[in-house]
């Protein structure tokens, strides 16, 4: 406990020092944040920025190695769980990684996605039935080539990519039956290789409640972006944003002149957190700020020079007990509808709606058509906060 206290104080001091350093480089009179219209445009472009190739190749290699071992070794595991943070879309990363190597892989494997949903079905108790039905249809669609021979390695061609595991359960009675079914089925269906993306928080939870890791024991973590990878990824993007050279007098705040190791450390190597931290550090010179900024056309550079301050994590608002429970539920489940959150938390929908609305207004959560989710830039601080408040986190797996 004392260790935790020291860790928290150290983290707070470090973060304070970083902010102080950032402030020392930034004179309030000289710089200002981007106008909202430009901020939105840059944010959109940044969201569309594909993940670094090296990152995707690293993931594809992990998958290739696991599948190849299964194809060549009789007793090798026939599943791979790919773990990422709740703010990194592990399912999308896996898809992108497989597409990166698509020409090579599709020649050797038959990649199937029996379930097309990426967010939880409206009735979470139906997930087990949907999984069973999908497997049944898959078997029916395959040509019957005689007797089942489990020792025949040449039959090992099919790779099944499942939806993210956090979207295959809800924390309520009967809510993880689908995962239990999957846990018991994967080992018996050795002619298929199962690729299962999941977030670390959901994995830690499922491990406690139904010991999934005892059955699905081949696990790989998403790679972490280090300072060089971040620099290689974001610097070319930054160059597309401005044509105007930065003022020489302000060269310490020139675009790209930030501590990439700080960015890597603050983001924990997560691309989604890094994107937003980098965006948050962009500045304009106060004198360059137009009174009426014009919307940017696609691909247009900003008409004024861009500057950058040291990245820093935003502060969290004061959170009360229900806020913590709601945030923890979203860490476990990823993007989730309010009705499902209410069922999981055992609270009325109106209370969850009110709490979600407050957190959304303070920027901790974001809302999309699929439901509420954690705003990635707050992920590092929320993790520390929940850990200090005795919650099970992704690091407890």
């Amino acid at each position: 406990m004392v260790g935790e206290l020291v860790k928290t104080i150290t983290s707070q001091l470090k973060s304070g020092l970083l902010r102080a350093r950032a402030a020392s480089k930034l004179s309030e009179d000289q710089f200002c944040v981007l106008p909202q219209v430009w901020d939105l445009a840059v944010r959109q472009r940044l969201q569309d920025l594909p993940l670094p190739n090296t990152y995707l190749i690293a993931v594809a290699e992990q998958v290739t190695e696991a599948v190849t071992t299964w194809q060549t070794t009789l007793d090798a595991p026939n599943s791979l769980v790919l773990l990422g943070t709740p703010v990194d879309d592990t399912g999308a990363v896996l898809t992108a990684a497989l597409e990166e190597r698509a020409p090579e892989l599709t020649q050797r494997w038959r990649i199937l996605r029996p379930l097309d949903w990426i967010t939880r079905p409206a009735d979470p108790l139906s997930i087990k039935g949907q999984l069973a039905k999908a497997l049944e249809q898959l078997k029916e669609s395959e040509e019957d080539d005689g007797e089942d021979d489990l020792d025949d390695l040449s039959r090992r061609l099919t790779v099944i990519v499942l939806p993210p595991l956090e979207q295959c359960f809800l924390r309520c009675i009967g809510g993880w039956q689908g995962v239990e079914w999957l846990r018991d089925t994967v080992g018996t269906q050795r002619d298929y290789f199962w690729l299962i993306p999941c977030n670390t928080w959901a994995w830690a939870f499922l491990n406690r409640v139904c010991q999934v890791e005892a059955y699905l024991n081949q696990i790989a973590d998403l790679p972490r972006l280090d300072s060089d990878s971040l620099s290689d990824w974001l610097t070319p993007f930054a160059e597309t944003l401005t044509n105007s050279p930065a003022d020489e007098d302000l060269s310490t705040s020139a675009l790209g002149n930030i501590s990439w190791s700080n960015l890597a450390e603050l983001s924990g190597g997560s691309p989604e957190v890094a994107r937003l931290l980098w965006l948050r550090s962009l500045r304009l010179q106060e004198t360059d700020r137009p009174a009426q900024p014009q919307p940017l056309e696609a691909g247009d550079a900003l008409p004024v020079p861009l500057y950058q301050v040291q990245p820093s994590l935003p502060s969290l608002p004061d959170l009360d007990a229900l806020d913590y429970y709601l945030v923890h539920a979203l860490m476990l489940h990823g993007i989730t509808l309010r009705s499902q959150l209410a069922l999981s938390l055992g609270q009325s929908e109106s209370i969850v709606h009110l709490c979600g609305q407050t957190l959304r207004q303070s920027g901790v959560l974001r809302l999309s058509r699929q439901g509420l989710s954690i705003q990635p830039i707050h992920y590092p601080r929320l993790t520390t906060e929940l850990d200090s408040n005795n919650f099970l986190t992704g690091d407890d797996r």
Partner: protein, 288 residues
């Protein structure tokens, strides 16, 4: 003065003893001046303000920091208060008394006699409080049961502790109970403590299904500490089966809410499975 000759030596001895005692008291006490009285009053006032400030500050701070640090901060209150009290007593003694080895012996003897008769219970409680600080049968923030009272220790005073019960009553219990009464501490300085939820079903009920429901009810409660084990145990009684779900909430303060949440979830699931509850009222106590 009419004193017989036989009684004279004894009278002289008594007079001598009295004179010696008066001398000893004169030696022991310093002159009481207005300045000293003012200093004493000021130090008492300062100590009172300091104790009040520490109590308020630590209570406020402990509710603001993350849960893991709440009890550490709360548990420091008695020590800090003790230190202040000790400092004030030492200062007052130095202010009014000449503390030499001989005087100290005389003072201790006098105090022992005075306190032994007049403030026996009070002193017993104070001494028990000091012992309890180190033995720690209870600390601020703990959930304890003492003499049929169950609640959270919210204050640790000189003479006793205060428990806040679930019904929001404040029960004051002297430290001296530690000498004689059993003290049941649920969490012993930890945030978590085991919470037992009782469920009663008929002999014919499907125990496997009920056990599964209870496990799932516990694991799906938002209050549960998932890092600690969950157990369901059962016992037969003449009127039905008594199941006990043993689980830990993340924060012992959530004990009633945790139990309520588990029961609400479990009963909703059991209603769907038409679980049979005991059909007759128990003829004996629940423990039979």
């Amino acid at each position: 003065m009419n004193i017989s000759l036989r009684a004279l030596p004894s009278f002289l001895i008594q007079t001598d003893t009295l004179r010696n005692t008066e001398d000893a008291v004169d030696n022991l006490l310093r002159d009481i001046s207005l300045g000293r009285l003012f200093k004493a009053a000021l130090s008492v006032l300062l100590a009172y303000l300091l104790v009040t400030a520490i109590q308020s500050l630590t209570n406020w701070l402990s509710e603001k920091v993350p849960r893991q640090f709440r009890l550490v901060i709360k548990q420091s209150i008695p020590f800090l208060k003790g230190l202040i009290l000790l400092g004030v007593i030492a200062y007052m003694v130095r202010l009014f008394l000449n503390v030499s080895q001989q005087n100290l012996l005389a003072l201790t003897g006098t105090l022992a006699v005075a306190l032994g008769f007049a403030f026996k219970d009070y002193v017993t409680s104070i001494i028990a409080g000091v012992v309890a600080l180190f033995e720690a049968p209870y600390r601020v923030g703990d959930r304890v049961t003492i003499s049929d009272h169950y609640g959270e220790v919210v204050s640790y005073g000189l003479r006793g502790i205060r428990l806040q019960t679930f019904d929001d009553d404040l029960v004051t219990i002297p430290h001296s109970v530690t000498w004689s009464d059993p003290i049941v501490n649920s969490n012993s300085g930890r945030l978590e403590a085991q919470v037992v939820t009782d469920v009663y079903v008929d002999h014919e009920a499907d125990l496997s299904a009920i056990t599964d429901i209870l496990y799932q009810a516990a694991y799906s409660s938002r209050f549960i500490q998932l890092k600690l084990p969950v157990k369901v145990v059962m016992r037969e009684t003449p009127w039905g089966t008594h199941l006990k779900l043993r689980a830990y909430p993340m924060d012992i303060r959530d004990e009633p809410a945790f139990r309520t949440d588990i029961l609400r979830r479990a009963k909703a699931a059991m209603a769907e499975q038409a679980i049979v509850y005991p059909r007759v009222k128990p003829m004996m106590g629940l423990d039979d």
